[in-house]
Symmetry: C2
Subunit: 330 residues, 2 copies
């Protein structure tokens, strides 16, 4: 691991502030269409906030390798557009009512419009990316979107069923870590890095993304509805088994405990078993702890992947990110 | 107009047979994924047939300009994949029950999977297109998909309302003619044509596409359910005003006639006015004839756009296409 000291949240925020404002402006300008529904829905989603973690990664990767040109603003907006497109389509698939505490887009505008606005955002992301005139950039983005889409399909096929830890790993890679990885790789490509450096940056992104999603899945089980902005244990309600649940199913839980979990997974509701009973079972089996340990492992692997990156304030920010991701409470 | 004699259907079929078989094989190979639903749904759609008019245009454009390399097989599959992706998403939007006389994909697999399989097909089309390593190819495809998606959104916003002839023109350009135009342009780009030749080919495709869609819309009103493989006057049932209907609304129909048409458009059914009454009104106002005259005009414009193309059997086939399009009965 690098010996560079880790930055603080405030330092990272200040470091990226101007770039993120520029990306926000770029996204806003890119997502304007002559068709009203497109501008409306993408403004709605953009204003909904979000952590902007993906463009931040791209910025840090590019800047830590000495790049500071306009391409990182453009591609920063691109990764956020791709992310937004997946959210719009996912809401249709999950038939979600809310997203980040507000009505979901499909609830507000209907499935038909949301299919099309998602399509449009994907295409706009590619159109803006095309301006870089770099085939590697396009290859990364197209490969990424296919991985993500395949991941969603795989998840649909496994809803309501217990899955293995390996399947869970594959799903969270496709769902989250792949976009983190590609954001880092794009930063490296912009900086003209060779393939080994690009791969190291990709490694960082993948490990950070895995840690991020595991923590997300743990918080879904352990945080309050108020903090989450959605009902507790939504994943189980949707029939999704996440790491802590898989751990309890596979390791030493009693038949009665396994049955309780399987009941919720299959029912898709808590009519017969309460969320607090489930959490009690998971804690009794050290499964929440197991999931967090796994997240810590990925977080450390992310930091280790930075070994070859020259010291700078941007590298310090990258060092900070994995620690922030595993320590966050929402 | 060129003096080259027009080919016959049989000649065109023979001329393109081997290329179309190769494209079919390419599409089949391209649309295989490790995720079962993707392969299943795209096989289902591929086997459903269709006229393969878009890859045929691309082949004829490329070959008439002296190109005969592998790129036209690849991009032929690409335009068919883009077309298929739009069908999958359109079926969700229209909540269609059938497509080409079989259950629609959304009916058979559900909205969620169809959103994702449509996404995947778009991405796969781009991935295969990327193999050409030609930015103009990507620019055309990305621009195309955005036009098509915006067209669908515009159509949604106008459902149940009378539209102007100008709006109708814009909608059918986006819905159909744009993909015809881009198929022709891609053929020209493969052949290394300069921009003027690419534009002429694009002109041909756009005019052919406008003629094609106008005739499609006329057949929806005049053909039988048996020939159409779907109920007569589906467009009106879906609240879509097409050219003959617009003509009657705008030109000399009586208030009672206009009211009958507006009633069906708004109701989205034929509970209060029958399809044969509507057809009678349209014929009394010469509106079906007007629409067909418009199609003949575009058909002639398509042929005229070929003036500068050197004579060949491929050019003869291109000359034939517009005549076929306006003369077809299904």
């Amino acid at each position: 691991m690098s010996t560079v000291a880790t930055a603080t949240a405030k330092e990272v925020f200040d470091l990226l502030h101007d770039d993120l404002v520029a990306i926000e402006r770029e996204f806003g300008a890119d997502a304007v269409s002559s068709v009203a529904a497109i501008t409306e829905i993408s403004d709605y989603l953009r204003e909904g906030g979000g952590k902007r973690i993906r463009p931040s990664l791209l910025l840090l990767a590019a800047r830590s390798l000495g790049y500071s040109d306009r391409g990182m603003i453009r591609l920063g907006a691109v990764v956020e557009m791709v992310h937004t497109a997946t959210l719009v389509h996912d809401d249709i698939i999950d038939a979600a009512d809310t997203r980040r505490g507000r009505p979901s887009t499909n609830r507000a505008w209907g499935n038909g419009k949301c299919v099309l606005v998602g399509d449009w955002l994907y295409m706009q992301a590619f159109r803006v990316a095309l301006e870089e005139r770099n085939f590697r950039v396009l290859e990364l983005l197209i490969g990424l979107t296919q991985q993500m889409v395949e991941g969603e399909l795989l998840q649909m096929e496994r809803l309501g069923k217990p899955i293995s830890e390996g399947e869970y790993h594959d799903l969270i890679y496709r769902k989250t870590a792949c976009l983190f990885e590609v954001s880092m790789r794009l930063g490296a490509v912009l900086a003209g890095a060779d393939r080994a450096v690009e791969d190291a940056m990709g490694d960082y992104g993948r490990n950070l993304g895995l840690a991020f999603q595991i923590v997300d899945d743990v918080l879904d089980l352990t945080a309050t509805e108020e903090v989450l902005g959605k009902p507790v244990a939504s994943d189980l309600r949707e029939g999704k088994a996440t790491l802590a649940v898989i751990h309890t199913l596979e390791n030493g839980s009693t038949p009665a405990e396994r049955l309780s979990i399987q009941t919720v997974l299959r029912d898709g509701n808590f009519d017969r078993v309460s969320p607090s009973e489930i959490l009690h079972i998971l804690n009794r089996n050290q499964s929440v702890n197991y999931a967090m340990q796994s997240a810590f492992g990925y977080s450390a692997a992310a930091q280790a992947a930075l070994a070859g990156v020259p010291d700078s304030e941007y590298k310090r920010a990258l060092q900070w990110m994995p620690e922030f991701v595993v320590a966050r409470e929402k």
